[in-house]
Subunit: 165 residues, 2 copies
Amino acid sequence: MERYVDFWQVTEAALRFAVRRLSIDTTNSQLERLMGAYLNPAAFDEARSALEALKGSPLAILSNGSPRMLDSAVRNNGLESYFAEIISVDKVKTYKPSPRIYALLNLTAAEILFVSYNLWDAAGAKAFGCPVCWCNRSGAEIEHWVFAPDFTVRQLDRVAETLPG
Amino acid sequence: MERYVDFWQVTEAALRFAVRRLSIDTTNSQLERLMGAYLNPAAFDEARSALEALKGSPLAILSNGSPRMLDSAVRNNGLESYFAEIISVDKVKTYKPSPRIYALLNLTAAEILFVSYNLWDAAGAKAFGCPVCWCNRSGAEIEHWVFAPDFTVRQLDRVAETLPG
């Protein structure tokens, strides 16, 4: 389709559709409060220790979220000092898993360890050529597919162990 | 991601994943029989009369299905004489709603009346520039979005009425 609308707008449209579909009466100010939650998500308990353990390598966020969503989420959790770069797809106005997005990291694919909770995202990075680590927090079964992650961990604080020593 | 696997393989992978996820014991021959159903879907009751009413205009199928799935579905319902073309995305190895697919019709977008049951497909055709008719068989609410179909019908036999006289 190749029509980009940023993730903030997509998220709000989805929320409005969901409440209408479920016939939930909501005021605009309630919807605004719910949208506000996307600016202040709680980091997983082990996020800080996971980032500490990875400090020796430059870390980047590469996300479908809008720049405002990412900046706000990182800052509200006080994690901004850990990241060399926070990259939103908004820069090129298309979404992962397009290879144009993984290219934004400006590294040879093999130099990246791509970590994701989303299997589709891990598959996109793998198709781009990155080693990938799937954080399978819920213990979901892997979908049988042409792709398998190089590493699978249950929590973020196990990611550092997958790096070459 | 830009990795194409044809719709037959995607469908089979989805079926195998679904039965595993739902812990349904199935034999390979049962799975093969289920896959066979995709080669012989029943046309909607009004399909033939809808196609009769549209006979004055050249009709084409433009589908994400694999060539074998499309040919078999059309033939098993005895509808092949109605179509000037049956086009599978397999020709260019990507899926709708990529604009590359709508371009396969080889017509100026404005010359096409694109009919779909899928709102995402109608939106893709609209983004390409086609007038679109959404066949909203289930009476679903339209998702609020940047796109609205030019026509909405409840059944295929109402499509002909939307054509200019």
